[in-house]
């Protein structure tokens, strides 16, 4: 017994840390050494502020933020905000309105679509950190082997989805005849995420939610939405040019990187990560669109927000300003490959971004990018749509599934009215 008591005593008192005024930051679970490079630079420049960063793995990030912000807690002072969740935090009073701390001049360099995402009810609630874009990656070796001409690799010139489907049919190959293709025609990197799938609908001119962001009835079963969903269903079930069950971005990339897929609709971060596959020779073609429709590409990514109940407003603002500065965003790009959410950062990265694949994506961000819908219920909207796309890709009827999704999403959105 004595031993146990002694042990516990040691445990309890060994853990009482030093009470020091500091900034608590809740951040994505990116590699510690890379995140700390930026944080250490901030601390060197601001010796009076100490920054305590918690890196939370992506799968647990949103739940963790919810719990940490509960009961109007004053910490974390600064936290990472997924762009589309901005209205959800804002409407519940978790985010500090930033208009008075950031001048128009300071906001000028950020991409318009990112500022739009950060704005809710006319107020700015977060500062854009990174952004993103999507293109069509293709394996040159597979195209050569089967004599298919490469898709265009110049900014703004793109295939139609109909053409992509035809190529995918030709390049879905079952060499050993075991019934499972050795090479798949097309992989969608994020198989069920609205981020990559909504542009299919938007390319046909479809709207994906009501203008006030509070209703989906009639929108998810519109003619455009159903046409896009049919195309998506056919990829997996009709033409069978895409593999089912690949619901993880990293596994999609492993497939493409190891030559098990001819094309991949994938986001910008693949450019850096595909370098890992030494034998892979790939090209990047601009995002496809539907014949007769318009070109629309996904965009948006992480933002930084300040807790409305923080006791350290000044220090938090300083930290956010540092983190979203021209130089810091350029450096984060060098460290981790994310696209800066402000245009002037690219001036510092000219060498990197003069490469043709980046030129393609930069063109998209300037011309065809469309932010995800602004709705305080994005978390529920996304979750239910993901489930819906998942079941459609496994073969369930698109129209019925989307009808059910409308009912379920609208039930969730009702509480924001």
């Amino acid at each position: 017994m004595k031993k146990i008591a002694l042990f516990l005593l040691v445990v309890f008192f060994a853990v009482i840390g030093f009470a020091k005024t500091n900034l608590e930051v809740l951040w994505m679970g990116w590699p510690t050494d890379k995140v700390m490079t930026l944080v250490n630079e901030f601390q060197a420049a601001n010796p009076d502020i100490s920054v305590d960063v918690q890196l939370v793995p992506y799968t647990q990030l949103f739940q963790t933020i919810e719990v940490r912000l509960s009961g109007n807690s004053s910490t974390p002072d600064v936290f990472i905000v997924d762009g589309p969740l901005n209205p959800s935090y804002a409407i519940r009073g978790n985010l500090l309105a930033l208009d008075e701390y950031f001048s128009e001049e300071e906001l000028e360099p950020f991409f318009d679509s990112s500022i739009e995402t950060a704005t809710f009810d006319g107020k700015l609630y977060s500062i854009p950190y990174t952004t993103s874009s999507v293109g069509l990656y293709f394996n040159k070796e597979i195209f050569d082997e089967y004599g298919i001409p490469y898709p265009p690799e110049t900014p703004g010139e793109r295939l139609t989805w109909e053409e992509v489907a035809e190529i995918a049919k030709k390049l879905t190959i079952d060499e050993n005849g075991d019934g499972t293709p050795d090479v798949w025609g097309l992989i969608i990197e994020q198989i069920d995420r609205p981020y990559q799938l909504l542009p299919l609908v938007q390319s046909l001119g479809g709207e994906v939610i009501s203008p006030d962001g509070l209703s989906t009835a009639g929108y998810l079963t519109s003619e455009e939405f159903l046409k896009a969903a049919d195309f998506y269903w056919n990829l997996f079930n009709g033409w069978k040019v895409s593999p089912q069950g690949l619901n993880n971005s990293s596994i999609s990339r492993e497939y493409f990187g190891n030559g098990k897929a001819a094309m991949m609709l994938g986001a910008d971060w693949n450019i850096n990560r595909l370098a890992e596959f030494e034998d892979l020779e790939y090209g990047l073609s601009p995002h496809p669109y539907f014949e007769g429709g318009i070109a629309v590409t996904p965009t948006g990514s992480w933002h930084v927000g300040i807790n409305a109940n923080t006791k350290n407003v000044a220090a938090s603002v300083d930290f956010v300003k540092f983190l979203t500065s021209k130089e810091a965003l350029a450096e984060w790009n060098q460290l981790f490959g994310h696209l800066p959410a402000r245009q002037d950062s690219y001036d510092l990265l000219e060498e990197e971004f003069s490469k043709p694949e980046w030129q393609i994506l930069l063109y998209e961000m300037d011309h065809t990018a469309m932010a995800r819908p602004v709705t305080p219920g994005f978390l529920q909207y996304e979750l239910i749509l993901r489930e819906t796309f998942n079941s459609i890709h496994y073969g369930s009827d698109p129209e019925q599934s989307l009808k059910d999704a409308e009912t379920r999403i609208d039930r969730e959105l009702r509480k924001f009215k």
Partner: protein, 282 residues
């Protein structure tokens, strides 16, 4: 002779079926272990078509293990999880066995209600109490300490229930005899009840240890310093939105499963007996 043959045929079939079921459980684990020994980046090279190379790594390397200990402080995470799991086990044994003893052997007003509340506590899903729990722990000033990781797990309803069931089987006459001989209740608890309850104790040890070892969400919420990082947090840190570091994910998952395996290996005999014992005695 005939009869004997029939039985052995049946045994063979059962054996084959069990072997297949065993294999189904074993293969994914084997694949993870094999993959953790492959050089980073070549994990999916051998997934299709399935052949021997899918399961047996060709170029064996230990770099993934070296990496997690040198670059990711996995050793510290293991240490933290051991501290948390072991302290929780010790405290739970003390608290839950005393509570179980009181509920099994004493009569007091409201006993049934208390017992019902204990039962409810382990039926409510953790997700539904996490916010009130966080607010409570936060108000106590425990956030970002070992205490936040250890204390909420201590009053374990399932452990109290198990002890209660086990202690109910001990004949009250023995305790009364000891009472007449002048032993205090605490002495009876310590000298008679606990020594008779080894299977229940072992069951609770394994159960609580595994619970703490596998917890991910609560440690993320309750602590925010890397110095308090526990094993599951360290493992899942290898998964990001845009990428998963498979090599480190697999090596850390394998390394992280060794301590519970060692524990289970030593306690296995008692554990199985403990579970069947608490359920079958009448």
């Amino acid at each position: 002779m005939k009869k004997k043959n029939k039985i052995s045929k049946k045994t063979i079939i059962i054996f084959i079926v069990l072997a297949i079921i065993g294999l189904i459980y074993f293969i994914p684990l084997e694949w993870v272990t094999a993959s953790s020994l492959r050089p980073s980046g070549s994990l999916y090279e051998y997934t299709e078509p399935l052949n021997m190379e899918t399961f047996i790594p060709v170029n064996i390397t230990f770099e993934n293990y070296v990496n997690i200990f040198t670059q990711q402080h996995f050793g510290r995470a293991l240490m933290n999880s051991l501290i948390v799991a072991c302290s929780t086990v010790l405290l739970t044994l003390l608290v839950s066995s005393m509570a179980g003893f009181a509920l099994a052997k004493f009569d007091f007003p409201g006993k049934k209600i208390v017992f019902a509340i204990v039962l409810i506590t382990f039926m409510v899903p953790f997700e539904s109490i996490v916010i009130p729990l966080y607010l409570t722990v936060s108000a106590l000033g425990f956030i970002n300490t070992y205490a936040a990781l250890i204390l909420p797990g201590v009053a374990n309803g399932l452990a109290i229930f198990l002890f209660n069931q086990f202690f109910s089987e001990i004949p009250t006459e023995i305790l009364e005899a000891a009472r007449i001989d002048g032993a205090s209740w605490f002495r009876i608890y310590r000298k008679i009840v606990i020594p008779l309850s080894v299977p229940a104790i072992i069951t609770v040890i394994v159960m609580v240890f595994m619970f703490q070892w596998n917890s991910l969400f609560w440690p993320l919420v309750a602590t925010h310093s890397t110095r308090l990082e526990v094993v599951q947090v360290a493992i899942s840190a290898n998964r990001m939105t845009e990428a998963t570091h498979w090599a480190n994910l697999f090596s850390s998952a394998v390394a992280g499963s060794i301590p519970p395996m060692v524990l289970f290996f030593f306690l296995q005999k008692y554990f199985v007996r403990g579970i069947s014992g608490t359920g079958l005695k009448s």
